[in-house]
């Protein structure tokens, strides 16, 4: 206890950083300095590796040499085992940064007679520690002593002494122990190590394995209490520290292009917000990946780095397929602006994928991440787990101001707005692609289901894949409703011909009117001519009649004269009336 007060700080106890990605965050700084930590778990869960990484990182990053007292593997075996993780034990040993002492216990070669203690073990450990000035110790796994020596009460007393001894020398120790039965370790050594206990677990659910780590206890320190997934890969162990879901992301005002001008126009002309989460959902073959590829292409063209997490196609396939629509993603890969990570969803557990993403983001520092498709992740976890992990991922990406573009395959039977993951609430911008089936063909439609904070178009647009990428077409809305594809083309043609017909009609009407006018005018001329000729004829008749009349009057005079008749005034008047009329 006096050690505690000696090494205590404002935060409680001093921490010893492990250098293991994520673990130091969960434990808020590392393992308790100057105290032993128990790392327990079933066979094959990574206990030794965690211990070795603790030593190696201590030696190489923090200048704290370490001693490994190995009860199971020789120094050569250990060195070979961790070479694949990029640790060069032999080099560290040569530079006196690391010492490995293999403690070999063979019960058949050994006879026990009377009293003994394990002083030789202390001597060996002490010698190794002193020879390189070690600050860290790994005991892997101390429980092998129980298999080799039968005097359990002696062993227990000696173990207690050992841990006290380690504390007295201010050594930060990792002690591994195999888990068995209900207890944390087979021989209950957790009863001697009460400062910090880390439990590792390797679970297989539905043939997919996931490694998990939990800090069971950590005396004198706050620590994350959840089970955290961890990954063993070429860099050793990395734990995914689940960020606290506190929704405090700063909002960026900048809007970035989706790579399709017409789609940008639907987003008020400027595209989507940087650092937001974009979901592109749709049924099979609606062009989700293509749309995402456009986004990536535009981002790379702006000089931003992108990561594509592909669960369905290999990088080469994606590059080839996109080149068919005129997108050359290959050049961005060459320029180190684009990085692919392709894996089958079932190749790892869900968490492993996301730790991988986490790692990649930390290393590659992209501005945009594409996950294609998130629905594939369902193959490696239950719905609630998947949603949970996606939530963490989106949170993480948002925290880093990374724009996340995710595609999701929707069930053709269900409502298009429905994703299997129920993640609408996580999404800022949701672009929906759908097939519109009519007239014996399928066409692609695109619309914006939601776009938080952006005034967006309510239109459904048809989009066409051309040799030079995606092209958005105005959707034809006619008297017969909304038509697409060849129906749209046909409708457009039909309309054009109708218009032509009308124009022709007008022409025809105009010319027929003209003709009629001409005909009537001709008739008028003819009639006029007839009138003239009639008039002429009538004039001739009148002249003839007048001649006749004169002749008659001349004759009557002659007769009167010949008869010598005197005409009375009355006769004169009667004749005059009759003759004049």
């Amino acid at each position: 206890m006096e050690k505690t007060t000696k090494s205590s700080t404002a935060n409680g106890i001093l921490k010893c950083p492990t250098g293991i990605r994520g673990l130091d965050e969960i434990t808020l700084g590392g393992l308790p300095r100057g105290r032993p930590t128990l790392v327990c778990g079933n066979a094959g869960c990574g206990k030794t590796l965690l211990g070795m990484q603790f030593l190696v990182q201590g030696a190489s990053l923090y200048d704290e040499p370490g001693v490994c007292l190995s009860f199971e593997e020789t120094a050569e075996e250990l060195a070979a085992n961790v070479t694949s993780l990029g640790f060069d034990l032999n080099d560290l040993i040569a530079r006196n940064k690391l010492a490995v002492d293999y403690v070999y216990i063979e019960p058949s070669e050994m006879e026990e007679t009377g009293e003994y203690d394990l002083e030789a073990l202390f001597v060996r450990l002490g010698h190794a520690v002193d020879s390189i000035g070690a600050k860290r110790v790994l005991l892997d796994s101390i429980e092998a002593l129980f298999a080799g020596l039968s005097h359990e009460s002696v062993l227990r007393a000696e173990l207690r002494r050992l841990f006290r001894w380690l504390k007295e020398r201010d050594l930060t120790a990792v002690v591994t122990g195999e888990r068995a039965g209900a207890g944390l370790t087979r021989h209950g050594i957790e009863e001697y190590i009460s400062d910090c206990v880390i439990l590792l677990d390797h679970r297989v659910t539905e043939s997919v394995s996931t490694r998990r780590l939990r800090v069971v206890k950590y005396r004198g320190s706050v620590h994350g209490t959840n089970e955290y997934p961890f990954l063993i890969d070429t860099d050793g162990i990395s734990v995914l520290p689940v960020t606290t879901l506190d929704l405090k992301h700063a909002a960026l005002e900048e809007q970035i292009s989706t790579g399709i001008p017409a789609l940008d126009a639907m987003f008020g002309g400027k595209g989507v917000f940087r650092g937001s989460s974009v979901l592109i959902s749709g049924t099979a073959g609606t062009g989700k990946t293509t749309l995402a590829a456009h986004f990536v292409d535009a981002a790379c063209a702006r000089g931003e780095r992108c990561v594509i997490y592909s669960f369905e196609e290999s990088p080469d396939e994606v590059v080839r397929n996109m080149s068919s629509i005129g997108l050359d993603l290959g050049r961005w890969i060459k320029m180190n602006l684009l990085c692919f990570h392709a894996a089958r969803p079932t190749s790892h557990g869900l968490e492993t994928h996301l730790i991988g993403l986490h790692k990649m983001v930390t290393e590659f520092q992209p501005a945009n991440v594409v996950i294609d498709p998130i629905s594939a992740l369902l193959h490696s976890g239950s719905i609630s787990e998947t949603t949970n992990m996606l939530l963490r991922t989106i949170d993480f990406l948002k925290g880093e101001h990374i724009t996340a573009v995710m595609t999701a395959l929707t069930d053709p039977g269900g409502a298009p707005e429905r994703t299997d993951l129920g993640m609408s609430s996580l999404i800022d911008t949701w672009v929906l692609l759908r097939n519109i089936e009519s007239g014996g063909e399928r066409n692609r439609g695109i619309y914006i289901l939601k776009a938080r904070g952006i005034s967006h178009s309510n239109q459904i647009r048809e989009f066409v894949l051309t040799d030079h990428g995606i092209d958005l077409r105005e959707v034809y809305v006619g008297a017969d409703g909304f038509v697409t594809g060849s129906a749209r083309v046909a409708q457009e043609a039909k309309d054009e011909s109708e218009a032509l017909l009308i124009r022709q009609n007008i022409e025809r009407r105009k010319s027929s009117l003209d003709n009629k006018r001409k005909a009537l005018e001709a008739q008028i001329t003819a009639l006029r001519a007839r009138v003239e000729s009639e008039e002429q004829y009538a004039g001739q008749l009148i002249d003839q009649e007048q001649l006749k009349l004169k002749k008659l009057e001349g004759d009557r005079k002659d007769i009167k004269i010949s008869r010598n008749l005197k005409t009375t005034p009355a006769m004169e008047a009667a004749r005059g009336n009759g003759g004049r009329k």
Binding site: M110, E111, T113, G114, E115, A120, G126, H127
Partner: protein, 111 residues
């Protein structure tokens, strides 16, 4: 600094390769170590007089030697010769078991 205790006064004895080469690892002059040495000497005198060679190694003085013979417990008696190497840990107070451990008595007969 090891202490060598050579019992075979008649140098170049007829036993030839039958010389027993024994090593007793101790850590300081603890009562257990002293008792182990006393017990060992008594047993050797009784059973293999004149043909044994005891080397006492104090690990407090030579800690690096613990590794070579894979010493864990104190005291530990190592029979280097005749082969195979055998180890007996403890203060050697149980004579029967020591005899079994040194192959001076067939296994099973002992306690």
């Amino acid at each position: 600094m090891s202490t060598r205790l050579n019992s075979s006064n008649d140098a170049g004895d007829g036993a030839g390769n039958d010389t027993w080469e024994l090593r007793l690892y101790v850590a300081g002059q603890t009562p257990k170590s002293l008792q182990a040495f006393a017990n060992l000497k008594r047993i050797c005198e009784q059973h293999i007089p004149g043909t044994y060679d005891i080397e006492i190694i104090d690990l407090l003085k030579n800690p690096q030697l613990a590794r070579g013979d894979q010493i864990l417990a104190i005291p530990t008696l190592v029979r280097k010769l005749p082969a195979p190497v055998r180890k007996i840990i403890g203060d050697l107070s149980n004579t029967e078991r020591v005899l079994v451990g040194l192959d001076l008595r067939a296994r099973g007969k002992g306690a």
